[in-house]
Symmetry: C2
Subunit: 232 residues, 2 copies
């Protein structure tokens, strides 16, 4: 079992295993002079990472919580370019006054405040999390955030993020999908699962990466070496 204590548990601190495997596979087939099998012809390796609960904050929220002029500091770089788990963590106080401690902040700051939890967290907090596409927080419940310098009230934005895959246009072309379409992810192993309704997000800045949450990761016991396959 991976230790979900780190924000992106299945991501290696250096190079993700799937990235190395993809390079080795391509090199071996080239060396053997054999045609590449379908997975090896993919423009990019498929990386699947588990996002533990976390939040995205505005600079204003960061300053209210951590002090005037305070900037988020990098704890660990994530797989998507420029994204990081911050050293800063928060205490979340839910609508029924139950608490989640050490909620990790992901940086850099965004234009909206959003907390992404797993259903297991929602049960611990005692309220029903809406399943939403990240960014679509209208009408959702909020919470109180507590930092060393003060409180910040979120009037909305506590969600379970819909499982999704980030990809660049060349990946979208390879898999034959468009932004907003649903894909499937097959995760192998002795308690394997297929995840339906995996939202496709396409941007030329994106690296091919599936984000699932801890409930999904634990349901199938996703490990760095677990075989995964992205399906249209």
């Amino acid at each position: 079992m991976p230790d979900w204590g780190s924000v992106m548990a299945a991501s290696s601190p250096t190079l993700h295993r799937a990235v190395i495997e993809h390079m080795v596979r391509q090199a071996v087939y080239r060396r053997l002079g054999k045609p590449l099998p379908a997975t090896a012809t993919a423009p990019n390796p498929l990386v699947v990472n588990v996002s533990a609960r976390h939040c995205h904050l505005t600079q204003e929220a960061v300053e209210t919580l951590f002090g005037k002029g305070r900037q988020l500091t990098v704890h660990k770089w994530l797989y998507q370019e420029g994204q990081f788990a911050a050293k800063e963590t928060l205490t979340l106080i839910g609508p029924r006054s139950r608490v989640i401690s050490n909620l990790r902040i992901l940086g850099p700051c965004r234009s909206l405040n959003q907390v992404e939890l797993a259903y297991t967290d929602g049960i611990a907090l005692g309220f029903e999390l809406p399943l939403r596409i990240s960014g679509d927080i209208k009408g959702t419940l909020g919470c109180m955030l507590m930092g060393p310098a003060g409180f910040f009230e979120m009037t909305e934005g506590v969600i379970r993020a819909l499982r999704h895959v980030h990809m660049a246009p060349d990946d979208a072309a390879f898999y034959g999908v468009k932004a907003g379409e649903a894909m499937k992810l097959r995760i192998g192993g002795p308690c394997g699962i297929i995840l339906d309704n995996l939202l496709t997000r396409v941007d030329k800045s994106f690296k091919l990466e599936v984000h699932i949450d801890t409930d999904e990761g634990n349901a199938c016991n996703l490990q760095p070496g677990t075989p995964c396959e992205l399906l249209k």
Copy 2:
């Protein structure tokens, strides 16, 4: 989200929704004089229940923990005939001295002691749960159990139970499977999943019921009304 506080959260206190739906479906098609669709011709309704963490104990363990001559008392009857969640709960102390409180005991007593946890629980306890078929506990880690009358040391038996389906021979014939074979379960809804490697267990005393754990139930947000389909 269901409240996993109860041991079998998706099971109704009276009649399971899937059972009622199956009866209504059959009655409606009969009334309309139309041929039954495939799902309605199944000999029994498909019930899918989430098993929250729990343990099975020997009578000896119950007496050590709760007192000489003590019998488990019924808190709630489960879907399988004669099985119940007991009023009695325990404190589990894991191999790293971390604790799970209010661990529910399922009755009646068995010939072996076994604790069934989700991977999320294993992470909280700080150790790696083996994925095992219920009853196959050889070589697994144990734990200490604490009850009001004393401690009971389990030298082995803490597992994640492999997802499984209970069925009677007529169900096995309908689905075309044999005991020990793997089936799949498709769970619908906005975060639907397909569970692979669902172990088939056949006995003439069994009612058709799939048991998944809280990680699996939360990954797909299984609700009483969520459509489920059992596939070979």
